[in-house]
């Protein structure tokens, strides 16, 4: 039998694989890249991840092949260690601890053939000779020129340094051993910043890339001849060439690594979780493929396998050419929703240009069994006059008609229904507006259907209205001022008579719909509330002084089933319950809620990586984490939390600055009714 262990948070993946330049093994078969706290080893031919080299406790900041043994690689990390790996077998060989103080360690690429190191920062280019004095040179940005250095590469044989600049120019510096007689030539093709440069091993070609997402290959010394590999999908951030020159490898800003056979064709694409400018859609689970769905590269929805930490495919929502240029406002997918069966997908895309009207499109997609993909069924242009705030499908599986409700800042909510056209030709059914509702010209924020589809709850600032979707009759209004409603959830299964909402004013309320009265409420600042579709459980994330606490409860009782202090640092903005493939039967009260589903959440955390100067908030790679059962029952004893609720252990374990009293207060306040 399965021995039940404790619940803990596990980093599941979705890390950035494009933060550092990858390394290709000398036989060109394997690709190593730093991914969060581990180093991933991919096959260059099959795109599969072969090993996860785990061991670092901080962000990996560099990977380098060992020069004396090409089957081994060093990695360095922000935790202050350098580790030596056998990457073909995935074995840690050695841990080097650099002498204290443990500064973050970075990889540097000395040009061993010519005994110098080049560094470029801002407007300064410096060449450190091993034997002589350093050479340094300062550019200026006068007269609106954008000469800032953005990248640097040195020629493997000749004394030639290539630098990329902010204005898209590439300069080739020569004769830099003397202070004055240095000289340079300029290559110009890129229209925006050159973000990466790389010489091929023989030095015959120079590769460059940038925002244009075109790989440019310049012939060294015959710079008027150049080759292009266009349409690589996203801005190029790093370029690497395999030691034998056969493979090029480009990292892209959409967390992708492309493997290219000598500038001719793309042979493999390793795609991580795409994190665009902002995560505007919720995290969703596609009921069919069980893949997590969120907006990914511009204009697309990505389907991401949680089990394999791999992008399955991108669904092109916008179906327009994306222009690779910074500063352009283009269509973005902002909302998406699935029906419970997964037959229908609704998506909202919008484009807001300065001084122009908002462009909105609501699209409805039907799953096509034959092609096993979503096919566009209806496009509703300008479904609302202002931004859509929420959208949901009627969740009942047995109802005859499918219904979609969207709420918008224009003060209306609209119900859309699939209808067969009156003059039936060969057109299939399409979607049309069924009802437009409003309430005292307030702005609707959230909407949700009850589990059986008989009730629709729409929140208008601090008022919750409950409607009957069959007759479009306003049944009741619930209100718990002050504070606008932030999230609304109907209870499921045995708790389906309850409606739970959170307000902006640190209140979690539970209404009983039979009595139309407040059942209980508790004062807690909840940033996110979500319901498990397969059980009665609900999860609430509460930010607390730089950390986030997780509470799991059932609406019928005001007592948390499970609580976890400080599941992560920073705020949790998106989370999702993903159904398990096979159900567990745990009997422990605290872990029962994970029997049906796993809870995944995305974090933003404060990273203080690399150099100490960068201490701003960085949106880290999405570290999706699962609390899950340790099947082998490793007891982590005192470190892990065994019981639910308000024990003193949790306060002891989490070194929260506020001290234990505050936490006790939060937990005990849960008991108020």
């Amino acid at each position: 039998m399965v021995e039940h262990g404790d619940i803990r948070v596990v980093h599941r993946g979705g890390s950035k694989i494009n933060s550092r330049e990858p390394v290709i093994s000398s036989d060109s078969r394997l690709l190593l890249c730093a991914s969060g706290e581990c180093v991933k080893v991919f096959s260059t031919s099959t795109e599969e991840c072969i090993h996860d080299l785990r061991g670092h406790t901080g962000l990996v900041t560099g990977v380098l092949l060992r020069p004396s043994n090409h089957l081994q690689a060093y990695s360095c990390s922000a935790d202050g260690t350098v580790r030596l790996w056998d990457f073909t077998d995935g074995i840690l060989i050695k841990v080097h601890l650099p002498p204290p103080p443990p500064h973050p360690v970075f990889a540097a690429h000395p040009n061993t053939a010519h005994l110098y190191i080049v560094s470029a920062k801002g407007l300064q280019l410096e060449v450190y000779f091993f034997k002589k004095q350093k050479f340094s040179l300062k550019e200026n940005n006068k007269k609106g020129r954008k000469n800032t250095f953005t990248c640097v590469a040195s020629h493997p044989q000749d004394d030639c340094i290539a630098t990329g600049h902010e204005d898209g120019k590439i300069r080739l510096w020569r004769n830099f051993s003397h202070k004055k007689e240095y000289t340079y030539s300029t290559l110009h093709w890129h229209h925006s910043v050159v973000s990466s440069l790389c010489f091929t091993p023989e030095g015959t070609n120079l590769l460059s890339g940038g925002v244009e997402s075109v790989l440019v290959q310049w012939r060294y010394n015959q710079e008027s001849q150049k080759d292009f590999l266009p349409r690589l999908g996203a801005a190029i951030t790093h370029i690497v060439v395999s030691p034998d020159g056969a493979l090029f490898c480009t990292s892209h800003s959409d967390n992708k690594i492309t493997i290219i056979q000598s500038c001719v064709k793309v042979s493999a694409i390793i795609q991580g979780l795409v994190k665009g400018e902002s995560l505007s859609t919720d995290l969703m689970v596609d009921p069919r493929s069980k893949a997590m769905v969120l907006n990914g590269k511009p204009g697309h929805l990505q389907f991401y396998s949680l089990q394999r930490d791999k992008l399955l495919f991108n669904l092109d929502i916008v179906q327009q050419e994306y222009i690779h240029q910074s500063g352009l406002q283009q269509f973005e997918v902002v909302k998406a929703a699935f029906t419970a069966s997964g037959n229908w997908l609704a998506s909202v895309e919008e484009r807001k240009q300065k001084d122009a009207e908002l462009e909105l499109n609501l699209k409805l997609w039907m799953f096509d069994e034959q092609s096993q993909s979503f096919v566009l069924n209806t496009t509703i242009s300008a479904p609302h006059e202002a931004r859509i705030t929420a959208m949901c499908f009627c969740q009942s599986t047995d109802s005859q008609t499918t219904m979609l409700v969207s709420t918008s800042k224009d003060g209306h909510f609209k119900a859309w229904q699939l209808a067969t056209p009156a003059h039936t030709e060969d057109d299939g059914p399409s979607w049309s507006c069924d009802f437009v509702g409003a309430y005292h010209s307030l702005v609707p924020e959230c909407c949700t259907f009850s589990a059986d589809g008989s009730l629709l709850a729409v929140s208008f600032q601090e008022v919750v209205t409950v409607w009957s979707p069959s007759s479009w009759e306003l049944l009741t209004t619930l209100s718990q001022p002050p504070g606008a409603i932030r999230d609304l959830c109907f209870g499921k299964l045995s708790c389906s008579k309850y409606l739970v909402g959170t307000t902006a004013n640190n209140l979690l309320c539970c209404w009983n719909l039979l009595t139309c009265a407040l059942e209980w409420s508790t004062s807690m600042n909840t940033s996110l509330l979500l319901a498990d579709p397969l059980s009665e459980n609900m999860a609430a994330f509460c930010p607390q002084a730089g950390f986030t606490d997780l509470f799991v409860f059932k609406p019928n009782e005001p007592r948390p089933l499970y609580s976890h202090k400080a599941v992560c640092s920073g705020n949790v903005t998106r989370a999702v319950f993903a159904p398990r493939e096979e159900m567990l039967d745990s009997c422990e009260e605290s872990s029962q809620w994970l029997n049906h589903s796993q809870l995944y959440f995305l974090t933003q955390c404060m990273v203080n990586p690399t150099n100490t100067k960068l201490s701003k908030l960085v949106i880290d790679d999405s570290i999706a984490m699962t609390p899950f059962h340790l099947l082998l029952g490793k007891h982590r004893g005192q470190q892990q939390q065994q019981e639910s609720g308000q024990d003193s252990l949790s306060a002891e374990r989490t070194p929260l600055p506020q001290g234990s009293a505050a936490i006790k207060e939060v937990s005990s306040s849960f008991l108020h009714v």
């Binding site: 000749d158 004394d159 030639c160 020569r174 004769n175 000289t183 229209h191 015959q222 008027s224 001849q225």
Partner: protein
């Protein structure tokens, strides 16, 4: 600053001629530039790029190539002639027919005093350079196409010739095949027997001169590579207006293997670059857009110095406009003709900065075409407007103008004194009774003007044995009272003649930089001189010494911003109402120096007119200094005072010149 009524003249349709050829003499630091109309200009690079001499053009002369041999300057042109120039008298010395059709190129060997001319008929003709002339020696084997370019090997044993589709090296013959018709516009023969060619396919190619094999090809443009010039590095000009530099660099620092690597690209021209010169520190280029550009190579000069600034020479450094102060007439000089204009009139009054309504429009009175083949080199109008004179290298012409209400009559004086056969500079006395003409050996001929005749009076000569006084006079100035005549020559000497006694009064101490403008103050009789290095002097003619103000100015030094200006002062005049005011101008600004005000020191703001305007009236005097600079008028050709407190400002906006140029090769611009 004083108030003036300004005649803003923009009807002088001056059009410079495109640059066709260039030759730099590193020994004397002089650059010779040949223009499309056949004129040859000499710039002194050691003296702040001052345009020292101008040899006027001729109708039939179209210079295609220029060449220095020591101090001697030769040219070859499409008229098939080789010309040597007399740089002292600013005229062609002699011409020799090459008898091969139009001559495309000229190349001199400095080693063995030979010169070769590449001709239309495919021959390369060799001339021997003798002391006083050149003599035909022999023909090389006749080739099929015309010879476009020639370059000597520095040893003088071989010569490379570029023609249609091939390069030929004479005495070690080798050829290069070409698939399509390619014109080798230029070749350079380097001392290590490398031949570098620029061709119409846009390629710069490096050849091994011994074996005739191609070492390297650089494709630098879609259009023609028109000019090549070499020094320690090589520059190539293209018809896109770019100049590309190539450098012979070691591939690995410290090793011997070197290669020609394309390095910098400059884009300073809008049209074809037809001529290039490579000096020690800079690349000089010129072409169809008529501007001469000196682009310093930043690895050869100190950064942030005057030498490291890009310099564009657009206007000639001599006067093309003559203003008759008393009668309000303007004389414009073109190579082909003269134009006489009467200024407009206005009786309006207005605030400073207003433009007044014009009562009478400016009117073109005379369009005088020159006679003969030679171009006009100098012209003058008497202050009363009654006399007009111009000169070419071969003759002087003098006209009497008479105005009867609205009609004007012009009469050429039939007989001129035989002494007055040619002149470099012309000048009338302020009472229009005398004409001064500078002539050979820095002498000045004085001619008295009667009602309808003229009479030779005297020849003023500097003292002989006074150094190198063979240089031509380029500036003449007669004082208001007609007592003094100042004559400056390109040897930097300024001679002062007493016209009452008709003899040399004194010679101003010779300054190292060439004077660009001179004038004698009407009241104090002080001579004001401005030099190519922007220095200003005031010399008292009575005391024969520099004045107190001049000494103070030299002691304190001029403001850095003043010294950094890159165009010379070309005119000096005086404010008739305030004798402390000296009015100067260069191409970009008009300056009034008030000698009664304190001089600016290094820290004061030189261009302070805007700040002065913002401070209250009472404090203005405390903030103001002697240099009052006005930049309202740009691209100035002439600024002159009239008698009625009016100022004539002749502008020629560079945009107007640009708009008259032929269309450049079409280039696709990004995002258009």
């Amino acid at each position: 600053m004083g108030e003036f009524k300004v005649h803003r003249v923009r009807f002088f349709e001056y059009m410079p001629s495109p640059i066709r050829a260039m030759a730099f003499n590193s020994r004397t630091d002089r650059l010779a530039v040949a223009r499309g109309d056949g004129a040859v200009e000499i710039f002194n690079f050691a003296d702040n790029y001052f345009q020292e001499k101008v040899i006027p053009g001729q109708d039939s002369r179209a210079v295609e190539a220029l060449c220095w041999v020591g101090q001697r300057l030769f040219s070859a042109g499409l008229n098939g002639e080789i010309t040597e120039y007399d740089l002292e008298n600013l005229r062609p010395k002699y011409t020799v027919m090459a008898y091969g059709g139009p001559a495309w190129t000229l190349s001199m060997s400095t080693e063995c005093f030979l010169c070769q001319v590449g001709c239309e008929d495919g021959t390369v003709k060799m001339f021997e350079i003798l002391e006083e002339r050149i003599q035909f020696q022999r023909n090389h084997d006749r080739q099929k196409g015309r010879i476009i370019s020639l370059s000597w090997h520095p040893s003088g044993t071989h010569i490379a010739a570029g023609m249609m589709g091939m390069i030929r090296i004479f005495e070690t013959e080798t050829g290069s095949p070409a698939n399509k018709e390619v014109v080798v516009w230029s070749v350079a023969f380097l001392s290590d027997h490398t031949v570098i060619s620029g061709d119409s396919a846009g390629k710069v190619q490096v050849w091994d001169g011994f074996t005739g094999t191609l070492i390297k090809t650089h494709l630098i443009t879609k259009w023609d590579v028109l000019a090549l010039s070499d020094q320690s590095s090589l520059v190539a000009g293209t018809s896109e207006g770019t100049v590309t530099q190539f450098q012979f660099l070691p591939l690995i620092v410290g090793q011997q293997d070197k290669e020609w690597v394309r390095t910098r690209t400059f884009k300073n021209h809008s049209h074809d670059v037809r001529a290039l010169a490579h000096t020690e520190t800079a690349v000089v280029s010129g072409g169809m857009d008529t501007q001469l550009v000196v682009q310093p190579l930043l690895d050869r000069v100190e950064k942030n110095t005057q030498e490291s600034a890009l310099r564009k020479i657009a206007f000639p450094h001599r006067s093309l406009v003559c203003c008759a102060k008393k009668s309000g007439l303007l004389l414009f000089q073109f190579p082909e003709h003269l134009e006489l204009w009467r200024l407009g009139e206005s009786d309006g009054h207005g605030k400073p900065g207003d433009s007044l309504p014009v009562r009478k429009k400016p009117e073109k009175l005379i369009h005088l075409k020159r006679k003969g083949e030679d171009h006009i080199c100098c012209s003058a109008l008497s202050p009363c407007g009654g006399w007009l004179a111009y000169t070419t290298v071969s003759s002087v012409r003098l006209y009497r103008l008479q105005y009867n209400n609205n009609s004007i009559s012009i009469k050429k004086l039939p007989k001129l004194p035989k002494e007055l056969c040619s002149a470099h500079q012309l000048c009338f006395s302020s009472d229009s009774s005398k004409l001064f003409a500078s002539s050979k050996h820095s002498s000045v001929i004085v001619v008295a003007l009667g009602q309808s005749e003229c009479k030779y009076l005297h020849t003023l000569k500097p003292k002989s044995g006074y150094g190198t006084t063979e240089q031509p006079v380029h500036l003449l100035f007669v004082s208001e009272d007609s007592k003094w005549l100042a004559a400056a020559n390109t040897g930097c000497e300024i001679h002062i003649y007493n016209l009452n006694k008709l003899k040399l009064h004194c010679t101003v101490p010779v300054y190292s930089s060439c004077p660009t403008a001179i004038a004698i103050h009407p009241v104090t009789s002080n001579l004001v001189t401005v030099h190519a290095n922007q220095q200003i002097f005031e010399y008292s003619l009575a005391q024969k010494e520099y004045t107190e103000w001049s000494r103070k100015l030299q002691k304190q030094g001029l403001h850095n911003l003043w010294l950094e200006r890159d165009t010379p002062i070309t005119h000096i005049s005086f404010n008739p109402n305030n004798q402390a005011h000296i009015i100067l101008h260069d191409m970009f600004m008009l300056c009034i120096i008030d000698q009664s005000l304190p001089l600016p020191d290094r820290k004061t703001l030189l261009y302070n007119q805007m700040t002065l305007r913002s401070v209250p009236e009472s404090e203005r005097l405390r903030h103001s200094h002697a240099f009052k600079i006005c930049k309202n008028f740009q691209h100035l050709l002439c600024v002159s005072t009239l008698e009625d407190q009016a100022l004539v400002v002749v502008e020629r906006p560079l945009l107007d010149i640009m708009s008259q140029l032929p269309a450049p090769v079409r280039q696709k611009k990004f995002a258009t």
